[in-house]
Amino acid sequence: MKALFRGILAGLLVWPWLVLADQEAAVESGVNEEVQTLKQQVLELNRDLFMLEEELLFPSNTQVSVFVSMDVGEFFQLDSVQVKLDGKEVADYLYTQRELDALIRGGVQRIHMGNLRTGEHELVAFFTGKGPRGRDYKRGATTRIQKGLGPKYVELKIVDQTKNFQPEFDIKEW
């Protein structure tokens, strides 16, 4: 009888270490060549379809993209960004924690992609968030952008103003 329990015990004793011992083996299993090839082929097709769609929906002569990036201290928590072009709302985005982390690490979000005629246009952007001690922030910025023949890229960068440590928009045309 005791032998049985010895056996059980021996089995249990092993498990705490197993997680380290077999980790590498499991990672490899299942990754077969066909799945890898399919992934590569779908990625290439997705790229081609994406470019086709962009050419058809947003031709370079009228294409405009608005990007959001951040360069702020850890005390500012972004909640949302709203963008208006020529008085029309084109984006109103609420951020998840995962997206915020990605922005803080240097990621850049394309918040809007659309079409504009060549010439001058008005861009208005607002962001809301929370600063130190949970204080609510809402800041806005207005700028006039010049749309030429090629694609137009506008970056809305949320930065800390060093004089008052409050976040503001820094708008850059690329």
């Binding site: 015990l9 990754v31 399919l38 690490r105 990621g107 890229y153």
Partner: protein, 619 residues
């Protein structure tokens, strides 16, 4: 318990995959191309498919001029994370062949080390790891040290692994992980005392977050079991007592604590944790084993009646669990597992499954979820989910593709309506005529330098005045010669002279001014001609472009249609593989339960015999 094992596993893999600080440069990255930043935005969210897609598009459109080398490396890393190690390895090998700088080479060797590690080529991985220069950054150094130690442990070189970890300075947040691994490596290397000290210290420390508390529990549990195996039950009990009863290792700790007491002959004390396990109404291994351990303890205490009661209870419990397992096996054979798998399609780009699926409509689902969450299922499950996402994506493209045909048709119609008007206007050759006039003026100014007739540069008004004066003179000349006519003629000649003098006196200024204006006009006039040609060419090319779009869309549609059945076939393979693995796992559990049941019945029979013997002995 398997799920916990998975979580721990993912933690370690996660540390060494592309999300690590060594895979990308130290944050935050300075982004010089917006599109590179966009790729990073998805990469940091572990949305590898979208990140790779964006990166491929940006590279194709030549939008990553400032991050070209990094983007190549990032693409390889993303491929590795997305489960494309073959493509990643080829890319890294190619990058190594180029004249890459030291930093880039180090990062490439890191990735190649990871690939060899994943494939189980540990010795080769160690060789690659040694090619990486010692980094200045502490966290990168720690990451490499952990990788190094893991490789040595995988090779059974636990002493070396322990040394590596011993000599590594840990940055914030790493210290506890290094210590638990060092402790494990030492125990594995047979250095029980040092390993025990390391884990003991870790197990006693205060922990201010759940992750660290779980790590502390793990150290205490591991140490407790190790000491039980070594025969030091008293010490083992102390470590097992430290494991939190509200933590993830509660069941294993209770079982071990009972065994520590039993090993010391204190079966009464052992009953406390074991009976607590029975109250948990769980199906996990420690509870199953406690169902045997409790009557065993009563038997050892000489309480045969209670032993019989609990053996019978255990048999009932095993029977019930066996029914559940049989139902799970039957369900798996009849496709229930596939229904459960469909709950793992979350609509995002595949990847690791972080949350267990719900059990809606799945009989005996708890066993299946348990099996799915276990270690060996993760890779085929990831393949299954990745393929599901690809299938969903291509079906969406297929649904949308007729819209692209419509868009091209709409443009074709607009072209057919507008092109004739534009052609008509182009036919007027306005730009060419304008250019011709410019050329004429240009020739005139050149000729002025030779002939120098100031009247050529007279303004329109002056020319009109000149012509009027000439006409006046001609009229006066035809009148009878009277003194009044002579005076008027003289006056007209005088005025003509004044006009000529005015024109002639600033002739050089006028010539310079004209030349300047002609020079300024050259650009716009040439551009007008060029635009005229462009519009003309575009009109000819647009039609060809429409046909080109039609061909491109048709070709892509064909590619989608060719890929979909292959994806379905691979997904079927993956689900078959999962089904086989599930059946194997469930069968193992069934056999284990059957074995417990046999043991319980055997022990029950012995208990009855004992009672009968005792009854027979009594007068």
């Amino acid at each position: 318990m398997p799920k916990l094992a998975l979580q721990f596993l993912l933690l370690w893999i996660g540390l060494a995959m592309t999300g690590s600080s060594y895979a990308t440069s130290v944050k935050p990255q300075q982004v010089l191309d917006l599109h590179y930043g966009e790729v990073l935005f998805h990469f940091y969210q572990e949305d590898y498919f979208t990140a790779i897609s964006q990166l491929m598009v940006a590279r194709q459109q030549n939008l990553l001029q400032h991050h070209l080398n990094e983007s190549d490396l990032l693409l390889g890393g993303l491929q590795l994370s997305y489960g494309m190690p073959d493509q990643a390895e080829r890319r890294f090998d190619r990058l190594l062949d180029q004249n890459t700088d030291a930093d880039l080479r180090n990062r490439i060797w890191y990735y190649l080390t990871k690939i060899s590690f994943q494939r189980g080529h540990y010795r080769s991985a160690l060789g690659k790891l040694q090619k990486i220069d010692k980094p200045d950054d502490k966290s990168i150094g720690t990451e490499l040290a952990v990788l190094n130690a893991n490789l040595h442990m995988a090779l059974g070189e636990n002493e070396v692994a322990a040394d590596v970890l011993e000599n590594t300075r840990a940055p914030d947040g790493w210290e506890e992980y290094l210590r638990i691994n060092r402790g494990i490596a030492m125990l594995r290397a047979g250095n029980i005392e040092e390993g025990r000290k390391t884990l003991d210290k870790l197990g006693k420390e205060d922990a201010d977050n759940e992750e660290l508390r779980a790590l502390r529990d793990r150290a205490n549990l591991g140490l407790g079991y190790e000491l039980l195996r070594a025969g030091d039950a008293q010490q083992a009990r102390e470590y097992l007592n430290r494991v939190r009863l509200q933590g993830p290792f509660k069941q294993a700790a209770l079982l071990g604590a009972g065994w520590a007491d039993a090993e010391q002959g204190d079966y009464k004390q052992a009953l406390t944790p074991w009976l607590a396990l029975l109250e948990l109404a769980s199906y996990e291994a420690p509870v199953q084993e406690a169902h045997l351990a409790v009557p065993y303890a009563f038997a050892q205490l000489g309480d045969s009646k209670r032993a019989i009661f609990f053996y019978e209870q255990a048999i009932g419990y095993f029977d019930e669990e066996q029914q559940q397992l049989d139902a799970a096996i039957q369900g798996t054979q009849s496709g229930v597992l596939l229904s459960l798998l469909s709950q793992t399609d979350t609509g995002i780009a595949g990847g690791w499954l972080h949350d267990a699926p719900t059990l809606e409509g799945v009989p005996s689902g708890r066993y299946l979820v348990d099996v799915l969450s276990s270690h060996s299922f993760q890779e085929p499950l990831k393949d299954y989910r990745d393929l599901g996402y690809l299938q969903q994506l291509l079906n969406q493209w297929l649904e949308n593709i007729h819209l692209y045909y419509d868009m091209v048709d709409a443009r074709r119609l607009a072209y057919q309506q507008r092109a004739p008007l534009i052609r008509e206007r182009l036919a007027k050759q306005q730009a060419t005529a304008l250019y011709q006039r410019w050329q004429d003026y240009q020739s005139l100014t050149v000729a002025q330098h030779g002939s120098g007739d100031p009247l050529d540069l007279a303004t329109g008004k002056e020319k009109q005045q000149w012509r009027t004066l000439r006409k006046v003179q001609a009229t006066l000349a035809s009148l009878p010669p009277e003194p009044r006519r002579t005076n008027l003629l003289a006056k007209a000649r005088w005025l003509q002279g004044i006009l000529y003098w005015q024109i002639q006196s600033n002739y050089k200024t006028r010539l310079w001014d004209v030349e300047k204006q002609l020079q300024a006009l050259e650009g716009p006039v040439t551009e007008a001609v060029s635009k005229h040609q462009q519009v003309s060419d575009a009109l000819d090319n647009v039609k060809v472009g429409f046909d080109g779009y039609d061909r491109r869309i048709a070709a892509m549609r064909q590619r989608i249609l060719a890929l979909l059945p292959r994806i379905q076939a691979s997904r079927d393979d993956a689900s078959d593989q999962l089904q086989q693995l599930a059946l194997k796992e469930l069968e193992t559990r069934r056999q284990r339960l059957a074995s417990y049941r046999i043991q319980a019945r055997y022990a029950l029979a012995r208990s009855y015999d004992l009672i009968a013997q005792q009854s027979g002995e009594q007068p």
